[in-house]
C-alpha cells in the first residue's frame, strides 16, 4: 500500500514539475504572430501582381494560411504550387491560370517613351515603385526592379506599355539541360564536349 502511495506521489510530483516546466516554456518561448504566413510569403514570387485576387503577396499568404487554395499564383507557376503543397501538407492542385497565359515566362514592362504622355497613372499602379517619371514628362521602367506584374498596362490611357520577355544576358544565361538517355546533346547549343578518347 505504501509502495503504491509512494509511486502515485512520485508520479504526481513529476506531473507537477513537468507541468510547471511546460507552462513556463509556453510563456517564455511564445511565438509572436503566425510563422506559417512568413514561410508561405517566402515561397511566393513577390511580383505583387494581384492575379490571385489579393492586393499583394503577403495578403495572399495570409489567405492561404486561412485555408484559401494555394494554386492561384500564375507568376509562381507549378513549382510554387508544389512548394506550397509541401510546406502546407496539402494536395498538389493544378495551377489556376488562363490556358493561353504564358506561365513561367519572365516579362518586364517597357514604356514606348515617345508615345508616353506623362500621365503618371502607371507610376501609381506600380506596386514596387519601378517606374520613374513626373507629370507631363516621359516615364520609364527600371527593368531590374520590375516584377512583370502587368498592373501598369491597364491604366495606361495611350497603351504605350508593352510586356516584353526577358532575354538572357551573359550574366543570366545558364546551360541547357542535356537531352537525356538515348540522345546526343543538342548540337545547336554550344556544348562542352569532352572530345578526348578514353585511354
Amino acid at each position: 500500500m505504501t509502495t503504491i502511495l509512494i509511486a502515485v506521489a512520485a508520479l504526481l510530483l513529476l506531473a507537477a514539475v513537468f507541468g510547471a516546466l511546460l507552462g513556463f516554456a509556453s510563456e517564455k518561448f511564445k511565438v509572436e504572430g503566425d510563422p506559417i504566413v512568413e514561410q508561405i510569403d517566402a515561397l511566393l514570387p513577390q511580383t505583387q501582381c494581384g492575379q490571385c485576387g489579393h492586393p499583394g503577396c503577403l495578403p495572399y499568404a495570409e489567405a492561404i494560411a486561412n485555408g484559401e487554395d494555394h494554386n492561384k499564383c500564375p507568376p509562381g507557376g507549378e513549382q510554387t504550387v508544389i512548394d506550397l503543397s509541401e510546406l502546407l501538407g496539402r494536395e498538389v492542385l493544378t495551377l489556376d491560370a488562363d490556358e493561353d497565359a504564358d506561365v513561367g515566362i519572365k516579362k518586364v514592362a517597357y514604356i514606348r517613351e515617345d508615345e508616353c504622355i506623362g500621365c503618371t497613372k502607371c507610376i501609381q499602379a506600380c506596386p514596387v515603385d519601378a517606374i520613374l517619371g513626373a507629370a507631363k514628362l516621359m516615364h520609364t521602367v527600371i527593368t531590374d526592379e520590375c516584377t512583370g506584374c502587368d498592373l501598369c498596362v491597364e491604366p495606361c490611357p495611350v497603351d504605350c506599355i508593352d510586356m516584353l520577355e526577358v532575354k538572357p544576358t551573359l550574366g543570366t544565361w545558364t546551360w541547357h539541360k542535356p537531352e537525356g538517355i538515348g540522345l546526343r546533346s543538342d548540337t545547336s547549343v554550344p556544348v562542352n564536349v569532352i572530345p578526348v578518347v578514353n585511354l
Binding site: 503577403l58 506596386p127 542535356p178 554550344p190 556544348v191
Partner: protein
C-alpha cells in the same frame, strides 16, 4: 628528394629528372588524357601581323563590364585606355594598337551562350604608335598600394582562364598573413602550351614579375608549380631564378608536380604544393595562400616596369585543321579568324573550333570572336579529332566518376539530383564545389555528359538565388511603398489637423488683437442689433393693430399677438446683449489678456455682423413694402418711408460698425475708457425712440384706414387692402425671422459667456439657463414659420394676387425656420456635449469641435459659390448662417478648451 607520389604519368621519367627540393602532396582523383602538346610546343612564339579589325569586349574578366570612355570616331593610341573599370571587381580595357574607334556595340564574344555583348571595335591605322607610358623603375621603393593601382589601371586580369582582376587578388585585407605565394605554371589541359613557351622564352621577365608579387604580398615562401611534362620550361625557370638570386637574393622555388589533370586548378595546385585545402566557397587567402598565373606575373611586370597595359598575350593555335600549329603573341581583340589564317587553316578539315582547352573550353559559334585576356588556346580540330558527342547511355553505377573527381564529390548522386532538378539535394551533395573539370564525364563508360548536368544544375541554383534575391527586393520595395503611402496619408491628416488648428489659432489671435479696439464697435453693433429687433417688434405691433382694426378672424389676431410677444422677447434679449456688451469693456480693462473677455468681444463681433445683415435685410423689406404701398396709392407711404429711413440709418450704422471692426485690428485700445453706462443709456434711448416712432406710424396707419372706411370705398378696395395688409403681415413675419436667428445668437452669446467661466458659475444653473434659451429660440422660430405659412394659405384661399411671390417668400421663411431648427438641434447637441464635457468627456467635445469646424467650412464654400452667382438675398442668408456656424465652432472650441482646463485643474 623524390615525390611521395607514385607517378603513373607517361612522362614520369622527366619528372624524376626534374628534382624537387620539397615533398609534394596529392589531391583526390584526376585523369591522364592524351596531352597533344607536341604539335604546338616545338616552334618559338611568333608575332602576328596587325589584324584588319580589333574587337574589344568590355567584359573580358570576371566582374562588372568596363565603361567606355571613348566615342565612335575617336583616334586612339596604342595603350590608351578605352574603357574604365566599373567598380572594384572590374578592370579597364586599353587599345592594343593605334587606330580609330569605328563602333561601340554588341558583338559576338567568347561565351558558350553565343550571345552578343558590348564591345569596342578598333580599326588599326598601321602606325602602332604608343601613347605616353609611365614606367616605375624603382618599384621596390614604392608602396604596395601604388603598385596595385598601377596593376589595376593596366587592366591586368588572371590570364590562366578565369580572368579575375589581379589587383583585387593581391590587395589583401589588413592583417592577412600569406605563407605561400603559388605561381601556377602547371598548364594541365591537353593541347595548351602557351605558358610552356612563355617560360622558355621569357623566364627572366616572369621572375621579375614574381619579385613584384613578393614585394606586394610578402609571402614566407614562393613556389612555382610546373608539371613534369615541361622540362625545358622548368630548366629555363630555374636558370632565371638562379640568375635573379645572384642579384637580389630572393627566394623562389620551382616545384615540379606530376602530370595529372586537373593539377592546374587553383585549389588542386594549392593542395599539391602546400597540402592545404581551400574551404568550400572560400578563397586561398583564407589558408594563407595567394595563387597567380605566371602569365599574369609577366603582365604585372610589363605594367610596372614599362608602363604597358595588358594588350597582348600568348595564345596557342593548334589542332589538326591548321597547318602551322604553334604559339603566337596576339593583340587582345584579334578575331580568331585572323589567327586561323595566320596558322593556315584548311576549311575542309575544320570540324570544331574550341576556345580554351578540350576539357573546359567551349565551342566557338563564329569566326569573328576575338581573342581576349583569358584566351590561352584556340583549337581548330578536325571532325575525326573531336567527333560529335556519343549518345548518352543509362548510368551503370560503375563509380568511375567518383574515383576521378578532384573535388572529392559524388558525381553519381549529383547526376541523379541534377537530372531530376532536385536542386536542394544536389546542393546538399556540394554541387557548388564542382570545378567543372570534366574528369567524370571523361571516364564515364555510358558517355553521360555529366558536366553538362552539373552546369545546368548550377545555373538553376544561381538562377534560383537570383530569383529569390529579386523577390526579396520586390518585397522590400513593396513594403517600403506601402509604408510610404501610409505615412503620406498620416502626414496629410496631420497637416489637415494642423491647418485647422492654425486657422483656429489665427482667428482667436485676431480676435485677441482686436478685442480691446473693437469694444466700442461691438457695443454699436449690439445697439444696432437691438434696434433691428425693436423695429421688427414695432412692425409686428403695427400688423397686429391693423388686423384688429379690420376685424380679422380671431386666430389671425391671436397668432399676430403671439408673434408680437415673441418679437418683444427678442428685442428684450437684444437689449440684454447690449448690456453684456457694455459690461465687456470693463472686464477687458480689468485684464486685456483675459481670454474670456476676448472671446466675449469676439462673440460681439459676430453679433455685430449678424446685426448688420439683419438691419440691411429689414431695410430692404421696408423699401419693398414702401414701393408696394406707392403702387397702391396708399396714404401711409410717408410713414413707411420714414420707417425705411430709420431702418436704413440702422443698417448703415451696423455696416459701418462691421467695417470698423474689420479695419480696427491695428487700432489702439482707448475704447475701454468710454463709460459703459453712458453707451448703454444711449442705446436704450435710441431703441425707445425708434419704438415710439413705430407706435406713431401704426396709429397713423389706423387713422388712414378709418378714413378709407368713412369714405365707404368699394368692397373690392377693402379686399385689396386686406390682401395688402396680408402682404405686409407676411413681410413683417419675414423681417421677424432674422430676429429669431439673432435671438438664438444672443442665447449662444449667453451660453458662450457662461462657457467661458465654468469655474465661477454654478454649472447646473448655467446649463439650465442655456437649455431654456435654446427652447425659446426653437419655439419662436417654429411659430413664425407656421404663421407665415398660415398667412400664405389664407391668401391662396382668398384668391389674393402675387401668390407665387408670397409662396417664394414663405419658402424662404420655411428654409430659415428649418435652418434655425437644425441649428437649434445642433445647439442642443452642443449643450449635451457641454454636459458631457462637464463630466470630462473630452472625446465628444473634440468631435463636436471638429464637426462645427467642418460645417463652417462647407458653409463658407457655399457662400463663395453664392457670391459667384450674385444672388444677394441668398448671400445674405448664407452670411448669416456662416456667422452662426462660426460662432458655433468657436463655442465648441471654447467648450473643449475649458473642459481641458478643467481636466488640467482636476489633474493638479
Amino acid at each position: 628528394m623524390n615525390s611521395p607520389l607514385t607517378i603513373k604519368s607517361p612522362l614520369a621519367k622527366s619528372a624524376k629528372s626534374a628534382k624537387n627540393s620539397r615533398p609534394i602532396f596529392d589531391f583526390h582523383g584526376g585523369i591522364h588524357p592524351p596531352e597533344n602538346k607536341v604539335q604546338s610546343n616545338s616552334t618559338p612564339i611568333q608575332t602576328l601581323a596587325l589584324p584588319p579589325l580589333l574587337i574589344l569586349p568590355l567584359n573580358m574578366h570576371i566582374g562588372a563590364p568596363a565603361k567606355p570612355i571613348v566615342n565612335i570616331g575617336d583616334r586612339v593610341l596604342k595603350g590608351q585606355k578605352l574603357a574604365d573599370a566599373n567598380g572594384v571587381v572590374s578592370v579597364p580595357v586599353h587599345a592594343p594598337t593605334s587606330g580609330t574607334i569605328t563602333a561601340i556595340g554588341p558583338r559576338a564574344v567568347q561565351h558558350p551562350s553565343g550571345l552578343d555583348a558590348p564591345c569596342i571595335v578598333l580599326q588599326p591605322d598601321g602606325e602602332d604608335r604608343w601613347t605616353e607610358r609611365h614606367p616605375i623603375h624603382n618599384w621596390r621603393e614604392c608602396s604596395p598600394s601604388t603598385l596595385i593601382t598601377r596593376i589595376r589601371e593596366a587592366g591586368v586580369a588572371g590570364m590562366g582562364g578565369a580572368g579575375f582582376p589581379s589587383a583585387v587578388k593581391v590587395n589583401l585585407k589588413q592583417g592577412t598573413q600569406i605563407q605561400q605565394l603559388v605561381l601556377n605554371a602547371v598548364e594541365c589541359e591537353p593541347y595548351i602550351t602557351a605558358d610552356d613557351l612563355l617560360m622558355r622564352e621569357r623566364a627572366d621577365d616572369i621572375v621579375r614579375g614574381i619579385h613584384i608579387l613578393q614585394h606586394l604580398i610578402k609571402p614566407h615562401e614562393t613556389l612555382i608549380g610546373i608539371e613534369d611534362n615541361k622540362p625545358l620550361a622548368i630548366a629555363a625557370m630555374r636558370a632565371a631564378i638562379e640568375n635573379a638570386e645572384k642579384n637580389n637574393g630572393g627566394s623562389i622555388e620551382v616545384v615540379v608536380v606530376p602530370t595529372k589533370y586537373p593539377s592546374g586548378g587553383e585549389k588542386q595546385l594549392i593542395q599539391l604544393l602546400t597540402g592545404k585545402e581551400v574551404p568550400s566557397s572560400g578563397i586561398p587567402a583564407q589558408v594563407g595562400v595567394v595563387c597567380q598565373n605566371i602569365g599574369t606575373a609577366l603582365a604585372m611586370y610589363r605594367a610596372i616596369a614599362f608602363g604597358e597595359p595588358l594588350i597582348s598575350r600568348i595564345t596557342t593555335i593548334t589542332g589538326d585543321a591548321v597547318k602551322q600549329p604553334g604559339n603566337v603573341e596576339v593583340l587582345i581583340g584579334t578575331p580568331v579568324s585572323h589567327l586561323l589564317n595566320h596558322a593556315g587553316v584548311s576549311d575542309d578539315k575544320l570540324g570544331r573550333l574550341i576556345m580554351g582547352g578540350p576539357m573546359m573550353g567551349f565551342t566557338l559559334h563564329a569566326l569573328d570572336i576575338p581573342v581576349v585576356k583569358t584566351s590561352n588556346c584556340v583549337i581548330a580540330a578536325s571532325k575525326e579529332e573531336l567527333p560529335e558527342p556519343a549518345t548518352e547511355q543509362p548510368c551503370i553505377r560503375c563509380g568511375s566518376c567518383a574515383e576521378v573527381c578532384p573535388a572529392d564529390l559524388l558525381p553519381q548522386q549529383l547526376y541523379w539530383y541534377s537530372k531530376t532538378s532536385d536542386l536542394e539535394r544536389a546542393q546538399q551533395y556540394n554541387l557548388m564545389d564542382c570545378i567543372e573539370c570534366g574528369a567524370c564525364a571523361y571516364v564515364c563508360p555510358s558517355n553521360i555528359p555529366l558536366v553538362q548536368y552539373y552546369r545546368f544544375a548550377k545555373g538553376e541554383v544561381r538562377h534560383q538565388v537570383a530569383e529569390q534575391n529579386k523577390a526579396d527586393k520586390a518585397r522590400e520595395r513593396f513594403e517600403a511603398r506601402q509604408a510610404r503611402i501610409d505615412k503620406e496619408l498620416a502626414e496629410k491628416e496631420a497637416r489637415r489637423q494642423a491647418r485647422l488648428e492654425a486657422s483656429r489659432q489665427k482667428a482667436l489671435g485676431q480676435v485677441d488683437a482686436k478685442a480691446d479696439a473693437s469694444n466700442n464697435i461691438d457695443i454699436k453693433a449690439i445697439k444696432a442689433a437691438s434696434l433691428a429687433a425693436s423695429s421688427a417688434y414695432k412692425a409686428a405691433v403695427k400688423a397686429l393693430k391693423t388686423a384688429q382694426a379690420e376685424e380679422a378672424d380671431a386666430s389671425e389676431v391671436a397668432a399676430l399677438s403671439a408673434q408680437v410677444d415673441q418679437l418683444k422677447a427678442a428685442a428684450d434679449q437684444a437689449k440684454a446683449a447690449v448690456r453684456d456688451a457694455a459690461s465687456a469693456p470693463t472686464s477687458s480693462s480689468g485684464g486685456a489678456s483675459d481670454t474670456a473677455a476676448a472671446t466675449q468681444s469676439d462673440i460681439h463681433m459676430k453679433a455685430l455682423k449678424s446685426a448688420a445683415l439683419e438691419a440691411s435685410s429689414a431695410y430692404k423689406t421696408a423699401v419693398k413694402a414702401m414701393k408696394t404701398a406707392e403702387e397702391n396709392g396708399d396714404g401711409n407711404v410717408a410713414e413707411l418711408r420714414a420707417h425705411a429711413d430709420t431702418l436704413k440709418s440702422t443698417a448703415d450704422a451696423a455696416k459701418a460698425a462691421v467695417r470698423d471692426a474689420n479695419t480696427g485690428t491695428a487700432m489702439p485700445a482707448p475704447t475701454s475708457t468710454i463709460d459703459p453706462v453712458e453707451t448703454l443709456k444711449k442705446a436704450v434711448l435710441d431703441a425707445s425712440s425708434a419704438y415710439k416712432a413705430a407706435v406713431k406710424s401704426v396709429k397713423e396707419a389706423e387713422l388712414s384706414d378709418a378714413d378709407n372706411l368713412a369714405e365707404l370705398r368699394s368692397e373690392a378696395d377693402v379686399l385689396k387692402r386686406k390682401a395688402d395688409q396680408l402682404k405686409v403681415d407676411l413681410r413683417d413675419a419675414k423681417a421677424a425671422a432674422p430676429n429669431v436667428v439673432k435671438e438664438s445668437t444672443t442665447t449662444e452669446a449667453a451660453t458662450a459667456t457662461q462657457e467661458h467661466a465654468p469655474n465661477t458659475a454654478d454649472p447646473i444653473a448655467e446649463r439650465a439657463a442655456k437649455m431654456k434659451a435654446l427652447k425659446t429660440a426653437y419655439n419662436s422660430a417654429n411659430k413664425i414659420w407656421k404663421e407665415a405659412n398660415a398667412a400664405l394659405e389664407r391668401g391662396i384661399r382668398e384668391g389674393a394676387e402675387n401668390i407665387d411671390e408670397r409662396r417664394a417668400k414663405v419658402d424662404l421663411l420655411k428654409a430659415r425656420a428649418e435652418g434655425t431648427r437644425a441649428e437649434l438641434n445642433e445647439l442642443v447637441d452642443q449643450a449635451k456635449a457641454g454636459i458631457r464635457a462637464s463630466g470630462s468627456d473630452l472625446k465628444s467635445l473634440k468631435l463636436e469641435a471638429a464637426r462645427a469646424e467642418s460645417a463652417l467650412g462647407s458653409k463658407i464654400k457655399e457662400l463663395e459659390e453664392a457670391k459667384k452667382s450674385a444672388d444677394e438675398e441668398r448671400i445674405n442668408v448664407l452670411y448669416q448662417e456662416r456667422d452662426m456656424l462660426k460662432r458655433e465652432a468657436e463655442l465648441a472650441a471654447n467648450a473643449l478648451k475649458s473642459a481641458v482646463d478643467e481636466q488640467g485643474l482636476s489633474d493638479v
